[in-house]
């Protein structure tokens, strides 16, 4: 199997890659969102008395 065959997924490229792309985007977005939330908390600064 060559690469173009692999990417075409027997004609189901949209469905197969769409599924994985959707899952990937959602999971990465969740991580980025949480990192931002963490950063915002650190800025307001009440926390971290526990961290030390």
């Amino acid at each position: 199997m060559n690469w173009s065959e692999f990417f075409s997924m027997g004609g189901y490229a949209f469905y197969v890659w769409g599924s994985y792309l959707f899952a990937f985007v959602l999971l990465v977005a969740e991580i980025l969102f949480l990192l931002r939330r963490q950063k915002a908390l650190r800025r307001t600064g009440t926390r971290n008395s526990f961290d030390s």
Binding site: M1, F6, M9, G10, G11, Y12, F14, Y15, V16, G18, S19, Y20, F22, A23, L26, L27, E30, I31, L34, L35, R37, Q38, L41, T44, T46, R47, F50, D51
Partner: protein, 244 residues
């Protein structure tokens, strides 16, 4: 060593921070390994018509996570309610968003599976699809109810009621394909029978499911830390207000 001390949010906060990388890094590795096995070591899926089956790895893993996490969320919410344990309630709130995300992934990937194989994106009369949609609504209900109530402990209790009542939906999802047979196919892997998949397909699904578990633990711990910090800030603000 006194394990009970970890039930205190203040003690658990730094511990959770130390644990996160131990779940996040293996999760990333297992996702990569699972996808490699699923896409490159499954010769049985190489036939033209069968390529669509590659969706199954992420679809089934996400559907399982949606159900597992719901039960876990309900257990924590119930413990938080019954024993007035704050950390358990915060854990339930932290699980909810991740559970909802996996349920959404299972719905969307299922839809992307349904169009080419059944000829439709969605079927309102299918029991598996409908019970999964209800699971999504239960998550949304839990999350929005919690954010709608200002008093944190009251929000936790209200959420616990929704979470616990909704648990009944989980066995309904699991057995829906046996009780009402419509569009959705039966379980590929049953607890009672030998699975109808080849070794490589089965390993890919198992590895991706394990990756999803590790991912879930890592992000839930991240969210739990935010939750602990935010609730403490709110408590501190209320404290200052009362002092003035």
């Amino acid at each position: 060593m006194n394990l009970y001390k970890y039930a205190s949010p203040a003690v658990f906060y730094p511990l959770a921070g130390k644990l996160i990388p131990w779940f996040a890094v293996p999760a990333a590795i297992l996702f990569a390994v699972g996808l490699y096995v699923g896409f490159f070591l499954t010769p049985a899926l190489a036939g033209e018509q069968k390529q669509i089956y590659h969706i199954i790895f992420i679809h089934v893993a996400a559907a399982w996570m949606g159900m597992f996490l719901y039960v876990l969320m309900a257990i924590y919410a119930g413990i938080g309610w019954a024993f007035n344990a704050r950390l358990a309630s915060m854990m339930a709130s932290s699980i909810a968003v991740t559970g909802a995300l996996f349920t959404l992934i299972s719905l969307v990937t299922g839809s992307l599976w349904g169009k080419p194989t059944w000829g439709t994106w969605w079927a309102w009369q299918d029991a598996r699809l409908m019970s999964t949609l209800i699971l999504m609504f239960l998550y949304i209900g839990f999350i929005s109810l919690q954010s709608a109530i200002d008093n944190q402990r009251r929000a936790d209790r209200a959420g616990a009621v929704v979470a616990l009542v909704g648990v009944i939906n989980v066995p309904i999802i699991y057995y829906s394909v046996q009780w009402w047979s419509t569009l959705h196919q039966g379980a590929t892997i049953k607890f009672t029978e030998k699975p109808k998949m080849t070794g490589a397909q089965l390993s890919a699904m198992a590895i991706i499911t394990a990756a999803c578990w590790l991912y879930s633990i890592a992000v839930v711990l991240m969210r739990l830390r935010c939750e602990i910090a935010e609730r403490e800030q709110t408590a501190a603000m209320i404290g200052e207000g009362a002092a003035q």
